[in-house]
């Protein structure tokens, strides 16, 4: 084991961390919004909405993300004249945006299932109680349904966030030099797979460790009713 080489590797791989995080944050954020609407469609959209989301989830969960990425990056390049005409070519030309789109569409499928579970876990009694207090429509949704659904969905959502962090590594296959892309290049140049693997692995583990802590903080923050009450005088 060569410590000097590993330190050098660490410094190089560190330059890929912002890109990895950027890919993850962008696609988790966009995927979350898309998933929110998909899960709403599944719950209140009737048979057509349910059928559509079920098909969407089946396709994106049933096939490898890498193939989805290739279809978007290489496959859509085939329609260049058409895309140029409608002004979308600037997006599909860039590997970065293709990776973001593929990651977003993919995570939306998983996340919408998590959100759907959360929405369906809101009990009828809670909704009834809110109605009895005179709440209805958007207020009921914003004040009662959404917070409870989020609380239910959070643990599973934390898993999905970590899976997405790891999934950004696939972007390296379409020439994006994030942490795994740099690691792959270093391994191919130096042939010291083990050392590079340890350094890159440690970086990913550190990031996922931070993310799990962050999720724990959010969970703590969203469930004040489960916290111990401070002793009161009354």
């Amino acid at each position: 084991m060569d410590i000097a080489f590993m330190w050098e590797t660490f410094l190089i791989l560190l330059t890929g961390v912002p890109l990895t995080l950027e890919l993850a944050v962008t696609s988790i954020f966009a995927g979350g919004i898309l998933a929110f609407f998909l899960s709403l469609l599944a719950v209140v959209g009737g048979p057509v909405g349910r059928g559509f989301t079920r098909g969407y989830v089946f396709v994106f969960r049933g096939s490898p993300l890498l193939v989805q990425m290739f279809l978007i990056y290489y496959g859509l390049g085939q329609f260049r004249p058409m895309l140029q005409e409608i002004g979308l070519w600037a997006i599909f030309r860039e590997p970065y945006w293709c990776a973001v789109i593929a990651l977003t569409l993919n995570t939306a499928a998983y996340t919408s299932e998590i959100f759907r579970g959360g929405l369906q876990a809101v009990s009828v009694q809670q909704v009834e109680a809110a109605r009895a207090c005179g709440m209805s429509g958007p207020l009921l949704f914003r004040r009662i349904v959404l917070p409870i659904a989020i609380r239910h969905a959070l643990p599973a959502y934390g898993n999905e966030v970590i899976l997405m962090l790891k999934a950004t590594a696939l972007a390296s296959v379409i020439t994006i030099m994030e942490v795994t892309g740099l690691a792959g290049k270093l391994i191919a140049d130096s042939f010291r797979a083990f050392e590079v693997f340890i350094v890159a692995g440690a970086i990913y583990l550190a990031i996922t460790f931070l993310v799990t802590r962050l999720m724990m903080i959010i969970e703590f923050w969203l469930s004040p009713h489960l916290r111990m009450r401070p002793p009161t005088l009354a």
Partner: protein
């Protein structure tokens, strides 16, 4: 309908069609997934026994294994085995006076990488299943005078398998999709074959779309197979729910 004709000419079984190659590549995808999954079951069983061991060092090692392999992108593990394996074979060749490049066989790389990754997931599935074996059943087995090995083979193992099958089904789907990553080592599985076809015909859209459909067929068929397997192992039990 000209569009459909043109598509069928590309991926069908005609003279210019890539259908036969795509199908055999799908078989390769299944093959490397099965080998990787079974390697994972074998290694995962060892890791499970380490997790359930009474020695804390073994438990730590096994937990560390799961944490690392689940926390690191699988692509990195594939790089590790592909380039690391080639470097290892090269230095092994050097010992015998051979100074050329010895490439790691792609199928072996795939089997090892998928095996090592899926072992981390499978060991967690098995650990949960072991914990679900009810104490009463073990007591009953001891009460009729069963020794540890027969007790394991005839009581514990079948129950563990029954409890583990839903989780194993998830792991299998994961392995099946991860197998697409093996294409970077040059193994001609479904994705690599689609890349080759897309490159030589310059019709990437049609071929990647076909690849997705073929993957969907495989994952869908295996979900049905696992449902049947689950029903079979549950035979003779009545759900209390």
């Amino acid at each position: 309908m000209e569009l459909i004709d043109r598509y069928l000419a590309l991926v069908g079984f005609g003279e210019t069609g890539w259908g036969a190659l795509l199908l055999s590549a799908s078989a390769m995808t299944l093959g490397v997934s099965v080998c990787g999954f079974l390697t994972g079951t074998l290694l995962g069983s060892v890791v499970t026994f380490m997790k359930l061991s009474r020695y804390i060092v073994l438990r730590w090692l096994a937990d560390g294994y799961t944490t690392v392999l689940r926390g690191v992108p699988d692509l990195l593990v594939i790089y590790l085995f592909y380039f690391g394996g080639s470097a290892f074979l090269g230095s092994l060749g050097g010992l015998f006076g051979y100074e050329g490049f010895i490439g790691m066989p792609a199928f072996l790389t795939g089997t090892l990488a998928l095996g090592v990754v899926s072992a981390a997931y499978q060991s967690e599935v098995f650990r949960g299943a072991f914990k679900s074996v009810a104490g009463g059943e073990l007591e009953a087995a001891s009460a009729v005078g069963m020794r540890p090995w027969p007790k394991f083979r005839r009581i514990v193992a079948p129950l563990v398998l029954r409890y583990a099958i839903p989780g194993l089904g998830n792991t299998w789907q994961l392995v099946l999709k991860e197998s697409a990553l093996i294409s970077i080592t040059g193994l001609v599985e479904l994705l690599r074959q689609s890349q080759i076809a897309a490159g030589s015909t310059r019709r990437p859209f049609e071929f990647y779309l076909t690849a997705i459909v073929l993957y969907l067929v495989i994952t869908w068929a295996s979900s049905i197979a696992f449902r049947h397997l689950e029903a079979r192992t549950m035979r003779g039990t009545r759900s209390s729910l």
